[in-house]
């Protein structure tokens, strides 16, 4: 029965993705065409020769301009279409202007020509300018903090809310049906919880010390898995939460903070005065070790961000190939490429599904290893 379902699911995915890529190819190539055309005009007016890639024919498809906005964080959740004809959900913009106070307005307040959008803060009267290359600046040069709810922040809050609801109901199911076999949602989530506990935390950190770190490891694992999976769902704005460096930096810093705070005598001893190492070599080893202390979480952060972003980039590149072939070799080549790209995208989707879990596993595993390192027993 399951294999039957899987077969149907695969066929349905194939048809939907195939259809979608063709539709997207058609609409986007029109939209992008207008876009680059317009941007050209505005560029020419004040910044000639700014982008050498734009110097080609009008209506040239530039993969970078297509891909980057899709993976970068944004101030609205963009569903389809281009900036004017499309449909997107505005998100709240929150600014704190030093000495003036807070500004709160929706991102739909931004108006203007295609590239440069402006909005006036309702409280401080600051004029904010949004440009794809420079980000958000203020017209009068006031310094401000941008604490807007961006797409990734919104996604993260959504994921966290979802996790709290789901895991709370899971926790309740245990007290509701004590001593009985799990079912429903609990049955789905329990193997993941057991996986993190029995295959990551306990074997690495140790049975007794693991309890202390389990809430963090579980939260991190579930957050990363859920975020990664959310990023794979099409038509909901293309979330790339774990591919946003601002989010992963928080996760990585949390790992760094926890392992540093929990670092015991043996940990610091190994770091600053490695036992059994000749003094001269210590001069070499200690700086490397100390550097490594900061490097480990940094690598953790970059690995997760890069992996998730790379997956999105590859899928988007296959979409781009359709436009490029359509533009350079004619419509037939475009359609042909559409079929080819779709097949590759399906492959990539399944790979990404694997990566979604794999990266969560790797992050949690490495975090557990760092915690175990910090709480190591002195064994010399």
């Amino acid at each position: 029965m399951i294999t039957e379902f899987a077969k149907r699911f695969a066929i349905a995915t194939l048809i939907i993705l195939g259809g979608v890529s063709l539709v997207v190819a058609q609409t986007e190539s029109h939209g992008e065409g207008d876009h680059t055309h317009d941007s050209h005009d505005s560029h020419d007016s004040h910044d000639a020769g700014h982008n050498s890639l734009d110097d080609g024919e009008h209506g040239d498809f530039v993969a970078k301009d297509f891909i980057i906005p899709h993976i970068a964080d944004a101030n609205e959740i963009h569903f389809f279409g281009d900036h004017h004809n499309g449909f997107s959900l505005p998100l709240p913009m929150i600014f704190y202007v030093e000495g003036k106070g807070f500004d709160l307005f929706m991102s739909s307040e931004f108006h203007g020509s295609h590239e440069t959008l402006t909005a006036t803060g309702p409280n401080t009267g600051t004029v904010y300018i949004k440009h794809p290359d420079t980000g958000i600046t203020s017209k009068g040069g006031e310094s401000f903090y941008d604490i807007s709810i961006t797409k990734s922040v919104f996604g993260m809050m959504f994921i966290m809310t979802l996790l709290v609801i789901m895991l709370r109901s899971m926790a309740k199911s245990y007290s509701k049906r004590p001593g009985q076999a799990p079912k429903g949602l609990t049955n789905v989530l329990e193997p993941l919880v057991l996986f993190v506990r029995n295959d990551i935390a306990v074997p690495i950190i140790g049975k007794h010390k693991a309890d202390k770190f389990l809430p963090f490891l579980l939260t991190t694992f579930f957050f990363i898995v859920a975020s990664n999976l959310l990023g794979l769902i099409p038509f909901i704005g293309g979330f790339n939460i774990t591919g946003t460096i601002g989010v992963t930096v928080v996760l990585a810093f949390a790992v760094f903070f926890i392992s540093t705070v929990n670092g015991n005598k043996a940990y610091w001893g190994h770091l600053f005065w490695p036992p059994g190492v000749p003094n001269l070599v210590k001069l070499l080893v200690v700086p490397i070790e100390v550097f490594g202390m900061f490097l480990k979480p940094t690598v953790l952060m970059i690995r997760l961000t890069a992996n998730m972003t790379a997956g999105h980039i590859i899928i988007l590149s296959f979409v781009s190939l359709v436009f490029i072939f359509n533009q350079n070799y004619g419509e037939v080549a475009g359609y042909g490429m559409g079929v080819f790209s779709t097949l590759f995208m399906i492959f990539m989707y399944f790979l990404e599904l694997l990566v979604a879990f794999l990266q969560a596993y790797v992050f949690t595993l490495l975090a557990a290893i760092y915690f175990a390192d910090a709480t190591q027993e002195a064994h010399h």
Binding site: S152, V153, R168, A171, Y174, L194, P215, L218, V249
Partner: protein, 165 residues
């Protein structure tokens, strides 16, 4: 590309806030009860397995106990049977001995009685014989002593005899 690699302040701010909040809430409301429930269940299973093992062992020991009891009961029964048989035998043999003794006593008594009877019978007989002989003697004497000479002779003879005594 700059936006991709530099963490935005707002994102970091909100991510920290929501992560810490979620961590706190999940730890309190979800992970605590979930991990506890899982541990409890594992302990329950462990306990159930152990108690099943124990029950099996108890069953085995109970069975061997039963066997032992049965064996004991059987041997007790055998012993009792044997004892009772012995007792019965003894009773029988005792009775026999007693009977024999009793009989021999009876026989003795009878013999004694017979002896006495015989003695008395003999005595009686003797007396009878004596009487008879006296009678006969009297009659004889009467016949003899019809003549006076003879009477005197006899008296003389008797007197002689009595002096000899």
């Amino acid at each position: 590309m700059g936006t991709l690699l530099t963490p935005a302040f707002g994102t970091v701010f909100w991510a920290t806030l929501s992560f810490l909040l979620a961590l706190f809430i999940l730890r309190k409301l979800a992970w605590g009860p979930i991990l506890k429930a899982l541990q409890d269940r594992e302990e329950n299973i462990q306990e159930a397995l152990l108690s099943a093992d124990k029950a099996r062992e108890e069953m085995a020991s109970l069975n061997s106990d039963n066997d032992r009891l049965l064996q004991e009961a059987r041997s007790t029964r055998d012993a009792m049977l044997k004892e009772s048989r012995e007792m019965a035998n003894k009773v029988v043999s005792d009775a026999r001995a007693k009977a024999k003794e009793e009989a021999s006593k009876e026989v003795e008594l009878a013999r004694e009685a017979i002896q006495i009877e015989r003695k008395s019978a003999v005595a009686e007989l003797k007396a009878e014989v004596a009487k008879l002989s006296i009678d006969i003697a009297e009659r004889l004497l009467r016949e003899e002593l019809k003549e006076s000479g003879k009477q005197t002779a006899l008296v003389e003879k008797l007197i002689d005899e009595s002096t000899l005594n």
